[in-house]
Amino acid sequence: MELTRRELLKWLGATGIAVTAASYIPWLGKSASAEQATTSGTQTTRLRRWSMVIDLKRCDGCIGLKTSPQCTQACIMGHQAPVGMKWIEVFEFKRELGGSYFMPVPCQHCENAPCTNVCPVGATFSTPEGVVLVDQTRCIGCRLCMAACPYQRRFFNWGDPQVPPETRSAKYDLHRQVPAIKGTVMKCSFCVDMARNGSVPFCVAGCPRSALWFGDLEEDIATNSRDIVKLSRFMAENEAFRFKEELGTHPRVYYLPGHGQNVGRNPYQTGLLPASWPWGGKK
């Protein structure tokens, strides 16, 4: 095609106008919902960097107690979670040559979180404290975050969530994820609101084996609500690893290898019991 100089100038002009216009579209170039990334103040201005350590030497999936995994149960009860959602769930990992170990898996609260990267509206985001949260009043329900999560730790309200009736009329709380909203994604929040106010998460408090530790990487300290340890030393001395570490997601949840030997489980004992929702059923 032949373009005269005048036409070329017009073309350039049009392009210039469009570039300028594009850069003014409010959401172009905006980063992950920074406005939500607020944290309540602790005593100092230093932020906590929440973290969890799960000691598999002490986890027998609660089969020795003949109950459903109490971390899951405490989470369900504490969060009044919709039926079917186990934000922390105990999986039995089988060894190829026999035997198994139990592994409670909450949201891994990745520092390089694949889920927050892909969210089109910034409904899921990492707080400066390193906790990945979901704002159910903003989530559009596209489920790309669920597809992106390599740990399958995100749950969707496919229909009307089955929750205790009294929570339905509650004022929405981002941290508690109450009330549950149809068509949105929910997940473990590390109970960050409770941690800020000085208590450990429901699952840590609920673990009868004291296998779950909640800590702060900033102060390098962790507790299982009984003892206090220096987090980095505790992990170094116990060969801590992270789940699917090779993916580079940098989870904030660490595991200490084991099969429940410290609470008297041999690697061949099985029999996880289903969790139950008093407002729904068992699963």
Partner: protein, 184 residues
């Protein structure tokens, strides 16, 4: 008479036993009791490691070798848990000195506790010292992503702008058709 003599002998014997035990005890007293003294800097900037020096001596001031000293920080955390958080241990050297390098992560005044738990020949002892940690900056920073200079969202804005600008230009051609003067 015989009875009185017997009692005397017994008392003498008892005295001898007690005396010798007492002597023995008096002789041992210097080595069984221990004394631990913890030396720390009074203040250090946050993020720097400090040298915790614990000197272990027996009652007579002689250094005790090969004694294990455990160091703690007295602290509290969530759910009201508080107490001593072990931060490491070290063995005393020939001079009776155990050293632990520790990087305190809390700011403000912290209380360090050094403990010698004792062994067969030495009794336990402990000492407490305070360090004030100065500073209020984050120590743990999460980092994600690769940083390449000049690569950013502006490239996408530019490409989109170019395309939509070209659309605008094409639409202007259509408007030109619509407003073209009639042919003579």
């Amino acid at each position: 008479m015989r009875t009185r003599l017997f009692i005397l002998v017994i008392v003498a014997a008892l005295l001898a036993v007690v005396g010798s035990v007492g002597l023995a005890l008096a002789d041992d007293g210097g080595s069984f009791n221990t004394k631990l003294s913890l030396a720390v800097p009074s203040s250090t900037p946050l993020g720097q490691s400090v040298r915790l020096e614990a000197r272990l001596q027996d009652g007579s001031g002689n250094p005790i070798k090969q004694g294990t000293i455990v160091f703690y920080i007295s602290t509290g955390f969530l759910s009201g848990t508080s107490g001593l958080m072990p931060i490491g241990s070290a063995a005393t050297n020939d001079l009776g000195v155990a050293v632990l390098e520790h990087e305190p992560r809390q700011n403000g005044q912290i209380e360090v506790v050094a403990r010698f738990l004792g062994d067969a020949r030495h009794g336990p002892s402990q000492d407490v010292a305070k360090i004030s940690i100065v500073g209020n900056h984050q120590l743990y920073e999460a980092e994600a992503g690769i940083h390449v200079p000049f690569v950013g969202k502006w490239i996408l804005v530019l490409v989109l702008g170019f395309i939509w600008g070209t659309y605008l230009f094409v639409v202007s051609r259509v408007l030109k058709i619509a407003t073209a003067p009639p042919e003579k």
